[in-house]
Amino acid sequence: MTNVKSFLSRQDLLGLAIIAAVIFVLMPLAMDIFRLNLFGKYLTYAFVAIGLVLCWGRGGILSLGQGVFFGLGGYCMAMYLKLEASTPEATAIQSTPGIPDFMDWNQITALPWFWEPFNSLTFTLIAIFVVPAAFAFIIGAAMFKRRVGGVYFAIITQAIAAILTILIIGQQGYTGGVNGITDLRTLKGWDIRTDEAKYILYYVNGALLIGALVLCQFVLKSKLGRLLVALRDKEDRVRFSGYDVANFKIFVFCLAAVLSAVGGAMFTLQVGFMSPSFVGIVPSIEMVIFCAVGGRLSIFGAVYGTLLVNWAKTTFSETFPELWLFGLGALFIAVVLVFPNGLAGLYRTYLGPYVDRWISKKPPSGGTPAPAATPADYDADPAAKPAE
């Protein structure tokens, strides 16, 4: 970590700079606060998408349950905000003042024990990281240690998403049920519903996303990043090179889970509520398509993919609601059949070479580097081919 240049190439820096410029300058100038808030909401999905790049694109682990972690992060945040909104004064009309309104409707007369710690912001912030990480660790340890992978892992994560949704809906006294946790107002007394707050949250969200991108880039450029690709291709070889494969998978799955959870927490803050409709199977699969459209190997691509799909969703579902599902379905198929490397692949084929030349001011390196090549020249093109 001592030297940023060691893991951020000029191309990566350019990519980061462009994304930062889009988030911090272009969009706030081009949009009113309403659209910007929407855009901020899309950006929270980008956290999930870049997590999927790591674990699916690079590591070959397809999780169809990322909504679970998005939801866990979101619910942690929402629980804190709800408690803050449920002061005895604000809830004086309830039979039991001081507990969230939906609990009161469900005849719960005392705050459940697992809600108690969420009175503390510090605990909440820690929980946003620890709860999903721990959950991912349990799932990952159980599955990867027993070498469950590929399709099986996908289906089991999907089932977990289904289970959690049913649980949240069924235990409405503790979770707010199908309505979710709504009517969130303030964070430490700061009203998160004002335009000013929305701007601030938007920028915080953007900064966190940039941070997440840098972190992921660091991971990808480390040996662990190369190991992930190696794992995806030839898991046995990695194992027989003396690595405990399961640990790496667990790590990357947990990392993706934590990223999703951060997205979820920011979602709650910006949108003002959390509900089980972000936890289930459908949103989880949609999050995969964000990543696939962007190019499942590229974290930058994933951000653009998320934005593009959501933008298309908002636009088309407004103007041609009938066509939207056809479009989304076709997108799934096209991204698999026609351009499996997504936006990043298109960029790499058509634009990348020019940009590279322009940045490095030297001819692109060929297949066989000169003997004097630096070790960095031995790195493979990260977007070589999609996972199978």
Binding site: W56, L62, L64, A142, M143, R146, R147, V148, G150, V151, Y152, A154, I155, I156, Q158, A159, I160, A162, I163, I166, L167, I169, G170, I281, V282, I285, V288, I289, A292, E322, L325, F326, L328, G329, A330, L331, F332, I333, V335, V336, L337, P340, P386, A387, E388
Partner: protein, 308 residues
């Protein structure tokens, strides 16, 4: 909770609950069989499986309307034609999908998952555009409704018996098709060694297409049969996806027997728990148990120990 009942009542209830479990078992087998063929024999994840079922249901709906309008005298037996047509329609769509989509993706199982999910969205919207967003009611001949009373309490729903018989017939049919016919032999040959099968003159592409179409066709029949017990709407197919996949995975992907065994285990567990707990909790507990067991035994219930 049993204190209030007499022994005869309890006996009857256990008999009926057992029967409810058997119906659920048949439903599960019907749902999962097509998927198990496709997944087990071809390694393809068909997320649009539910939509193929709904296609069968809509075909049944059209048939029922057609027969009622033009040849009402045949209404009593139209259901059999409807099922045959559902099989053909879903099978044909399956063959088309295999040709257009699946065959390009045999080496990328996770990608078939995404592509077929896309397909499911397209089919849903197509149903919505054609048949409307509302659920449609499928009229059934009277003999399929109602029940056979055995004792005061025990009554056996006729459509339940129908589903059970149908499941049995289809299961036997699939068994003969896969294990006793030439097509089945070729299918299994391709599963075991694609290159060698090709080398000895089996048209592997044709076998793939037929297998996929067969799986989809069975889904069509299942959908047709489910008009008796469930709803027919554009998004109804999605309800089945998780259950169906879990059944197949739990059974052990390569084994049809495993699918049947896991249908049995899950249906019995669920219907027993439903009796003692609330429906929601029973569902959660069943799913949790299945996922838990899968974590301990990822290869599923039935699987050959194989040399790798």
């Amino acid at each position: 909770m049993f204190a209030d009942y007499t022994w005869t009542e309890l006996g009857s209830i256990f008999a009926m609950q057992g029967f409810a479990g058997l119906i659920l078992f048949s439903v599960f087998v019907l749902m999962a069989l097509g998927l198990a063929i496709i997944f087990g024999q071809m390694g393809v994840i068909n997320m649009a499986h539910g939509e193929f079922m709904i296609l069968g249901a809509y075909v049944t709906y059209l048939c029922s309307n057609f027969v009622q309008a033009y040849i009402p005298s045949l209404f009593g037996i139209y259901f059999f034609f409807a099922m045959a047509l559902a099989f053909v329609a879903a099978g044909a769509l399956g063959a088309l999908v295999e040709w257009a989509l699946i065959r390009h993706l045999y080496k990328r199982p996770l990608d078939t998952l995404l592509a077929t999910w896309g397909l499911s969205l397209i089919l849903q919207q197509a149903y919505r555009s054609i048949f409307g967003a509302r659920e449609v009611g499928v009229s059934l001949p009277n003999w399929l409704l109602g029940s056979v009373p055995l004792t005061d309490i025990i009554e056996i729903p006729i459509n339940g018996i129908f589903v059970m018989v149908l499941t049995l017939v289809i299961a036997i049919g699939v068994y003969f098709l896969l294990f006793r016919s030439r097509m089945g032999m070729q299918t299994r040959a391709v599963v075991q060694n694609r290159v060698m099968a090709g080398a000895v003159g089996i048209n592997t592409e044709k076998v793939d297409r037929n297998t996929f179409a067969l799986g989809c066709g069975i889904a069509g029949i299942a959908g047709s049969a489910f008009t008796m017990i469930g709803s027919t709407g554009p998004t109804a197919g999605q309800l089945y996806i998780v259950d169906t996949f879990l059944i197949v995975v739990f059974g052990g992907a390569a084994s049809l027997l495993g699918t049947i065994a896991s249908s049995f285990a899950i249906s019995q567990a669920q219907s027993t728990m439903e009796f003692f707990l609330s429906g929601s909790m029973a569902k959660v507990l069943t799913l949790l148990t299945v996922v838990g067991i899968l974590m301990l035994r990822p290869e599923g219930l039935f699987s050959l120990k194989m040399r790798r």
